[in-house]
């Protein structure tokens, strides 16, 4: 078989499972029953909720104790995140800092950066965005034009980033910029900066998405001074840093659970008197879900043991995104007559967010290219 397609079975260890009941109890106590839960990690944000989660020790929980982390395993974190998503908790504020920015700093950042940022991420006091895409740069990330020139003690940053979720409410943005002009090696000469979103010369403009919400933005940099201390790792190392995040970014439960609340509300609609057609649909969707989850946990195990499963992660994201887009489409046609308001609202929320599922974190087309490379086709 092809490398990257083997998916040797792996189960969450008992130690990781032990935390599940605690998370469920916390969610039952904390979530407002009046809210309409949404399993899309980007669909709800509450700084208050993130703060409460931090008090439990569940932000940055895998990070070393010296920074305030709990030193837990990546698999324990897996349990926490999947429970949050399945319950539809508003995780938008801390999600990126917890999943991506903190681990980035741990792996590539300076000691001073770790000491400055990690404890405050862990305490739920600062949140991060990711600045990668630009108005003329989407999937072709190496074509970015936002650039910085060297100056005394730092860099002068100019350009613009787009689709940056929560840049209007978050505190910092890890931003991919050109620190050298493009050369033959188009992946060279890029760096990641930690940009203070309230610094002079930074302007954040909201963009309304199709559902009418303003959760993403365009961020403009007009001669923004970035001190040397805010360069992540070594200048010029940006591309390698971005690539190293992909396994974590693409294989997690957020890549197939976004529509989960639709399944729950569908189950609620039919639980009294299900037809065989409705049971078959629920069975089909759960068969996919259970299988995707097993794949995702397998990759979590690989990540925990230090592997870098790029193809596997792309496969999970592509399959998972395809699945979570199909859920509302199939469920709407199998629903009961006179559905409840709650069901309709949950379904509509999902339909309105669904186009983003197969775009964010690598489009469907980019993922298929990664998989094709794994098959030896390119």
């Amino acid at each position: 078989m092809f490398q990257g397609l083997t998916f040797e079975p792996f189960s969450l260890p008992e130690g990781a499972e032990a935390i599940r009941a605690d998370v469920r109890r916390f969610l039952a106590d904390t979530l407002d029953p009046g809210d309409l839960p949404n399993s899309d990690f980007n669909a709800g944000d509450s700084a208050e909720f993130s703060k409460k989660l931090a008090e439990q020790g569940w932000i940055g929980m895998t990070w070393p104790k010296e920074y305030g982390g709990a030193g837990k395993s990546f698999l324990e974190r897996y349990v926490v995140t999947e429970e949050l998503l399945a319950a539809g908790a508003p995780v938008g504020c801390h999600w990126i800092a917890d999943r991506q920015s903190g681990p980035l700093l741990l792996k590539f950042g300076t000691e001073a950066q770790r000491q400055q940022f990690l404890p405050k991420i862990i305490s739920g006091d600062i949140f991060f965005s990711i600045g990668m895409s630009e108005p003329d740069t989407g999937s072709d990330l190496a074509s970015i034009r936002t650039s910085a020139t060297k100056t005394e003690g730092g860099w002068i940053l100019n350009g613009s980033k787009i689709w940056t979720s929560y840049a209007h409410t978050n505190h910092y943005m890890v931003t991919l910029v050109r620190t050298e002009p493009p050369s033959e090696n188009r992946h060279a000469g890029m760096s990641q900066f930690i940009v203070d979103l309230h610094a002079q010369g930074v302007k954040v403009t909201g963009i309304r998405n199709l559902s009418g919400e303003e959760d993403f933005n365009q961020v403009f940099f007009d001669d923004v001074f970035i001190p040397d201390e805010m360069v992540v790792g070594e200048p010029g190392n940006g591309w390698e840093q971005v690539i190293s995040e992909l396994g974590y970014e693409r294989s997690g439960p957020e890549r197939f659970l976004s529509a989960f609340r639709v399944m729950v509300e569908f189950a609620r609609e039919i639980e009294q008197n299900p037809s065989d057609e409705q049971l078959a649909l629920l069975g089909k969707l759960t068969a996919h879900l259970v299988t995707l989850r097993r794949m995702s946990i397998t990759v979590a195990g690989m990540l925990e043991s230090g592997k870098l499963p790029i193809t596997e992660a792309a496969l999970i994201k592509d399959l998972g995104n395809t699945y979570e887009r199909r859920v509302p489409e199939l469920v709407r046609l199998a629903a009961v007559n006179n559905p409840s308001r709650r069901f309709v609202d949950t379904l509509n929320e999902c339909i309105l967010h669904a186009p983003s599922f197969t775009l964010r974190g690598g489009t469907r087309e980019i993922l298929k290219g990664v998989i094709a490379r794994g098959l030896g086709l390119r």
């Binding site: 079975p9 189950a267 299988t291």
Partner: protein, 344 residues
Amino acid sequence: MNEQQQLIKDTLDRMLTDLCTADVVDKAEAGTFAKKLWDALARTGLTVAGLPEEAGGAGGELEDSLLVIREAARYAAPVPLAEHFVAGMLIAGQGGKVGEEILTVATGAFRVDSSGRLVGAGEAPFARWCDRVVLVADASGTAKLCVIPVSDLRVEEGGSLAGEPRDAITVDTTPDGNAVMSTGDDTADRLQLMMAAVRALQMAGALEAVLELAVRYSLERNQFGRPISGFQAIQQQLANLAGEVAASTMAAHAVSAAFRDLNQVDIAIGKARIGEAVSSGTDIAHQVHGAMGYTREHTLNHRTRRLWGWREEFGNEREWQVLIGRAFLEGGADNLWGKVTVRR
């Protein structure tokens, strides 16, 4: 895969490459049993790899047999490995023993009357090439496991759309006393579940082969001056196929793990999910192969026709999906997630 299983896989790969050629598969479909292949598998103990020694098996792990069944399906091996194993499991479960004889299982309606006469009809894969058939009969409310010589049955030859023997059998005989054993009430269900599980594993194996064939063909076939693998349209299709195959590989692992306790829901998930992968996977593989794959000559069809047969046997996707849906709905909507996370 442990060391023992790697050894089994390597041995099996060599044996099947030599003895399970396209010609052998074609001849089997035309009615000639692949005796050399079966004898070689039997001689090395691969036909009973996972059965305990006291039951006449090779004394390996259960998973060893499941691996053999899955790997053999990559080659479309036209022999009753899966049926022989399930029959052996049932016999071993009664404290019985398997020998040199080739076994299969039958499903249908069978009963034993008060005088000990066994009557009924059903279907038994490969019956015409087997020595004995294992079936479950009802004796006034209690279940009996019967091991009946094929020579005592009326066998009406039939075939699946893959040309695999799916013979109709009729029985009206008074078996020897030791050929009829009292068994648990759930034995007929166990037989059904085991067969659904091995079919799921066979599908997973054949799907892997289908992906390999499609990728290889795309690299070899030139159009517009370059291999068709260079076209994004083809790459995307093959990436989709790879996704379905990866999912079915994962589901097959879960089926293997569920086999020991015959966990119904996990086997159902495997059969249903892998069955779905067959529909989209074979579609893509054939499209990539173009007209060449539509010929009887190309070996792709040995796999795809079997896949289309196996997805239907022992419960198709829809039948299992209803069962899965019911299992997950039990306990209500708010317990749905809890039912997902208990599936390890």
